[in-house]
């Protein structure tokens, strides 16, 4: 994959932009009803009672590179708790606690009694390692992974921390930008990244007549999108915003080169993101308790407002 230094600049300026814009865009709270739950975790989940890879410290993981709005942070900066040699990430820096998943992880860790300096971050180089049988390198792994009952046979999922809508992103001049219904999408060449549920949505919901294209990752998929080999990409809405604003934007002109054409209703496909843990992990219950605390005391809603653009302005496909 070609090295894109522009991404780092984009990441930094977008961090500021998102923090500012996040307040300006009318924020919808995450679709989680307020619980009447406790504001602290139970004694069984006290810090010294937890079964961890490295007792006394949390070992957490996400993909490398890590993309916004889930993970921000500058790999060059030394954040508190970061080892001397750097985080090991080439894009994004989990030690920063910036970004939706990053902040959520820090909040869950805090609810369990861990300060940011007590977290060790390990990059997950190969996606399959997160769900391969055998001992994991992490306590839990957070990487926009959708909870699915079939997947839950191989791993433990935490409770959902985010509800994702799938969406379509295309270059501005492409005729697909005029589509408003799912029927109209069928004739176009659509693409998705491997290991995403986006490819399932294309096959199950859209069922296009043209052959679907699947790429190793979203970064690979951007090139054919720009050169016209595919008409549009299916990605979750937040990643679509990141692509439109940080990755595809032409720095010379103010008009974005890409358009988010529309989003899919949850009735088409619900994608709830959860953390991944080892199957049968004793930690799962405590992670869920901590997550409940984070939701209950309003922290998750704040994180949502800070990092997530609600996307209300993007129309739903009929």
């Amino acid at each position: 994959m070609a090295h894109r230094p522009l991404r780092a600049i984009g990441a930094l300026s977008l961090t500021t932009a998102f923090v500012v814009a996040g307040g300006a865009v009318s924020a919808q709270s995450p679709s989680v009803p307020p619980l009447d739950g406790p504001l602290t975790v139970s004694d069984a989940c006290a810090k010294d009672m937890l079964t961890l890879k490295n007792p006394g410290r949390l070992t957490l993981s996400t993909d490398n590179p890590a993309f916004g709005p889930w993970w921000w942070g500058d790999p060059e900066t030394q954040y508190p708790g970061e080892p001397e040699g750097g985080s090991g990430w080439e894009l994004g820096d989990p030690y920063a606690g910036e970004g939706y998943e990053s902040a959520t992880n820090h909040a869950v860790a805090a609810a369990l009694g861990f300060a940011p300096e007590e977290i060790d971050w390990v990059p997950n180089a190969v996606f399959e390692l997160a769900f391969a049988p055998g001992e994991k390198a992490f306590d839990w792994h957070t990487a926009q992974i959708s909870i699915r009952p079939e997947r839950a046979e191989a791993v433990d999922f935490s409770d959902p921390y985010f509800d994702a809508n799938q969406s379509i992103i295309a270059m501005t001049g492409n005729p697909i930008t005029a589509a408003t219904t799912i029927e109209e999408l069928k004739a176009f060449k659509l693409g998705a990244a491997a290991f995403t549920t986006s490819s399932q949505l294309i096959e199950d919901v859209i069922a296009p007549t043209a052959e679907m294209q699947v790429f190793n990752n979203n970064a690979d998929a951007l090139q054919p999108l720009q050169s016209g080999t595919i008409d549009a990409l299916v990605v979750d809405l937040q990643t679509a915003f990141f692509m439109r604003d940080a990755q595809l934007e032409n720095w010379d002109t103010p008009d974005p080169e890409a358009t988010v054409v529309g989003q899919f209703d949850v009735s088409a496909q619900v994608d709830q993101m959860g953390m991944v843990l080892e199957k049968g992990s004793p930690l799962t219950a405590c992670v869920n308790e901590a997550l409940a605390v984070v939701k209950e005391n309003g922290t998750l809603a704040d994180i949502y407002e800070t990092w997530i653009s609600s996307g209300q302005e993007i129309p739903f496909f009929q």
Binding site: A132, P133, Q213, Q223
Partner: protein, 274 residues
């Protein structure tokens, strides 16, 4: 002198077979016991060797595997032809034709040296991005083109080895009979050369069958990608096993075919030996 094989010799050969069978069974049983007795075996079996998932995902992946076969067939055809051309270019001696020789040398050095993945990204994503009119942007096309370009480099060296292994006296004899350099090559040297390198050619063909999965990097869904999509759906690795079995179904017969061709060739040349 010239006595028929006596009883002890025939007996010792059967003894050899029995001992081989026993030792093989012992080794295999030991392996089976160690693997299935290990702590993580149930989880690994569930994740990698799941019978239900195997049966469930077989049809779709086998369907996608047809794409790999198509890519292989088209690519191999072009590779066999182009590689021969490059090998012949490499072998020209006339100074007038030196640019051809130089092209062949540079071509082989370049495309054997650069990893195929890099080339497929550069050609498959880079060239369509240039947006030149008339240049196709079909990922199937560029996938096949990349495979042809890369494997031609390897296979041309195989041909070259074959050509150089034909004794120069063959060429000399042909020319002394009045054949031109090209005719000597075409009618005397090449037929012998190509026959000699059938095993390595088949070897490279088998390598190509697996490289067809590279085309998936550009978007098209073939067996590897389809199995990956299945793995993604339920986090079970058995679909990869399905893909492996499908590839073996092709490569093992090809290997046996190679063995048969080699045996036939050996019998033929030994019969002609003086």
């Amino acid at each position: 002198m010239g006595a028929r094989p006596r009883r002890p010799l025939r007996q010792s050969r059967w003894a050899g077979v029995v001992i081989a069978a026993v030792s093989t069974s012992v080794v295999l049983t030991l392996l089976a016991v160690v693997i299935t007795g290990s702590e993580g075996w149930p989880r690994v079996q569930e994740a990698f060797f799941n019978g239900d998932k195997f049966a469930e995902t077989w049809p779709d992946i086998a369907q996608a595997f047809l794409k790999n076969l198509q890519i292989f067939a088209v690519a191999e055809l072009f590779i066999l032809v182009f590689a021969l051309l490059v090998a012949v270019m490499r072998g020209v001696r006339s100074p007038v034709l030196f640019p051809l020789k130089l092209f062949a040398i540079v071509y082989v050095d370049l495309f054997r040296g650069i990893p195929s993945i890099v080339i497929i990204y550069m050609f498959g994503f880079g060239i369509p991005a240039l947006g030149i009119d008339g240049v196709p942007d079909d990922p199937w096309f560029w996938g096949v083109v990349t495979l042809v370009i890369v494997w031609t480099a390897y296979v041309s060296e195989v041909y070259r080895a074959g050509i150089e292994s034909v004794h120069p006296s063959q060429d000399a004899a042909a020319r002394s009979l009045g054949l031109s350099g090209f005719q000597a090559l075409r009618f005397v040297v090449l037929p012998q050369a190509v026959r000699r390198v059938i095993p390595p050619l088949m070897n490279d063909a088998i390598g190509l069958t697996k490289d067809t999965a590279l085309v998936s990097f550009l978007g098209p869904i073939e067996a590897f990608r389809r199995s990956q999509m299945k793995v993604s759906a339920d986090f079970n690795f058995t679909p990869y096993l399905v893909a492996a079995v499908l590839f073996l179904l092709i490569t093992i017969p090809l290997t046996r075919l190679t063995d048969w061709l080699v045996a036939r060739e050996r019998k033929r040349t030994q019969a002609n030996a003086r």
